[in-house]
């Protein structure tokens, strides 16, 4: 009789009306949102890129600001999905009881979790496009290969939305999210080649770095912005996809458990 919380996800297109609901909410505050997506990477790239970059030699055959631009794409898209999945997702689940309202309609929890991931990933795509525009305007990338940044932003978004939802499913309140940002997101940013090449790290940390999803995002983004095809792109895509799928399933199981109360 008891429903199985470990059941295979039941996926359908019923998540689309929820995606549209989130889009309608976002549209009301689109101005500040887009400004944030643009201003953040500009500040990082100009500040660190020119400030710090002025004192540095070329890294991996490119200027520091060009090196940093790939890191910024990944860092920004990761953050967009993470904030959406954690803070906004928690508001919809807990504070505003939006999920509760939706669950009274012919939409299931599986659809809702899928909608959260799709929506958070959409925010990543928006963020990825914003950073790409900044990169183009600053003249840091020219090749059509750089357009691959857009699908990459989607993949990075799906990955970090799924991982973030695991934290949301476990969170008793907003304070809980500090653990995730302090213990996962910040170290990831420093270990995954966003600001400096991973080979600068001690061997042990390089091994850790190779297991983290952001490393694989950076490994894809950096050559794409430098007019080159990433060497191990199949493996990188596989790792990001794997994190997304496992994250989706684990978060769904945790939400099923949480909402069965």
């Amino acid at each position: 009789m008891r429903t199985n919380i470990f059941a295979f996800p039941q996926l359908s297109l019923r998540f689309l009306p929820i995606w549209r609901r989130n889009y309608m909410v976002w549209k009301k505050m689109a101005g500040p949102s887009i400004l944030g997506h643009l201003a953040d990477p500009v500040i990082y790239m100009l500040g660190l890129g020119y400030g710090l970059g002025g004192m540095l030699p070329e890294i991996s055959g490119m200027s520091y600001i060009a090196f940093l631009s790939a890191g910024t794409v990944c860092y920004s898209t990761m953050n967009s999905a993470s904030f959406e999945a954690l803070y906004s997702g928690f508001a919809r689940m807990h504070e505003q009881r939006t999920w509760e309202a939706i669950l009274n309609t012919p939409i299931t929890l599986d659809d809702i979790v899928l909608s959260e991931i799709a929506w958070a990933a959409s925010k990543s795509v928006l963020s990825g496009i914003a950073v790409l525009l900044v990169i183009w305007i600053l003249g840091l990338a020219h090749s059509p290969l750089s357009l691959w940044i857009i699908p990459l932003s989607l993949l990075v978004g799906l990955c970090f939305a799924s991982l973030g939802l695991i934290v949301t499913a476990l969170a008793p309140g907003y304070e809980f999210f500090m653990y995730y940002f302090t213990l996962v997101i910040t170290p990831m940013t420093l270990l995954c080649g966003v600001f400096f090449p991973v080979d600068q790290l001690p061997a042990m940390l390089q091994t850790v770095s190779a297991m983290l999803p952001l490393t694989h995002a950076v490994d894809l983004a950096r050559p794409l912005l430098n007019n080159a095809i990433p060497v191990n792109f199949m493996a990188d895509i596989a790792v990001l996809t794997g994190y997304a799928l496992v994250g989706f399933y684990v978060s769904l199981v945790l939400f099923r458990k949480r909402l069965a109360q």
Binding site: T3, R21, M24, V25, T105, P106, I107
Partner: protein, 307 residues
């Protein structure tokens, strides 16, 4: 039509949370077009029963059929024809009144055009036509509740579940909700509501089930519940000496009495001898009235606070 169809059938429902039987062997049959009330103190298991009937949680034992669909297995299909008014407000605070209805309708797979066509009727039903483009946080409590009711009707459901629909509303707002709910039953909708307001249950519900500790302890029409459970007349006696009077005299003139602080509730089949007796004690004040659901409720579930 003399044919009476059963809209909801539940048999032997059991739900256990942390070793406690929150719903403990509930069986119900709710007929098409009736307003059925679940009555009980806080923590009696009313909301859990509703959540079981809607298929939002799975029972640990028992069977449910809702509009011919097995619950929770076919809950999604059943919910296409169900409306829900939850206990806690969960309207979308970022949206206007109209946007709330449009977005909610889209969850049922309705097209924007189909929902737009229903909007004027829904807004009028909720007395919110003039608030169409106003954002939710600026609405009063009564308006929010009416919008929640309109939202539950967006898919033109056959059955509407309402969890404490008037809790927290002022009397004017409450009466308007009651009027609207009566209009819905007049249109042939089936209503299932929980409440702990006896006047609400007495006015609205064709049939009631009184719940306590996860069980149904009495079931029937409001009149049947009163006739089955309690003496028809009540005399409430007040005053400082009421308790003393009751201890020495009440037993001789009543079928049953209860002392609660400075009030004494006397339950009688014939109030005449008791009223004559009370006239001998000029310092006692009293009110004579017919027994009501609240008397039944307090008899069945006790007078002590539930916290």
């Amino acid at each position: 039509m003399s044919f009476v169809s059963i809209v909801i059938h539940a048999q032997g429902l059991l739900k256990i949370y942390a070793g406690q039987r929150v719903v403990d062997g509930i069986s119900l049959e709710i007929k098409h077009g009736e307003c059925f009330g679940l009555l009980g103190p806080n923590g009696a298991g009313k909301t859990t029963t509703l959540r079981l009937l809607l298929g939002l949680i799975a029972p640990d034992a028992g069977e449910i059929s809702l509009l011919g669909q097995a619950i929770p297995q076919q809950a999604r299909e059943a919910r296409l024809r169900i409306g829900v008014v939850p206990q806690m407000d969960n309207l979308d605070p970022d949206f206007t009144v109209a946007e709330n209805l449009l977005v909610y309708g889209s969850y049922f797979g309705m097209t924007d055009a189909a929902i737009e066509a229903r909007l004027p009727e829904l807004l009028e039903f909720a007395n919110l036509t003039h608030k169409r483009d106003v954002k939710v946080p600026t609405l009063s409590g009564g308006m929010k509740r009416r919008l929640t009711l309109a939202r539950a009707l967006v898919n033109d459901p056959d059955v509407i579940f309402l969890d404490e629909p008037t809790t927290g509303l002022d009397p004017q707002a409450r009466h308007l909700i009651w009027q609207r709910l009566r209009e819905l039953t007049a249109r042939g909708k089936t209503l299932v509501l929980t409440t702990h307001f006896m006047d609400e249950a007495e006015r609205l519900c064709h049939r009631l089930a009184v719940m306590d500790n996860g069980r149904i302890i009495s079931q029937g029409t409001p009149r049947e519940l009163i006739a089955d459970n309690i003496e028809p007349q009540v005399v409430e006696v007040f005053g400082e000496q009421a308790a003393d009077w009751a201890k020495s005299h009440a037993a001789n003139h009543t079928e049953r009495f209860e002392i609660s602080g400075e009030s004494v509730f006397c339950y009688v089949r014939d109030a005449h001898p008791l009223l004559l007796e009370l006239q001998q004690h000029p310092k006692l004040r009293y009110v004579h009235r017919p027994a009501n659901l609240e008397d039944v409720f307090l008899k069945l579930t006790g007078r002590e606070m539930r916290e």
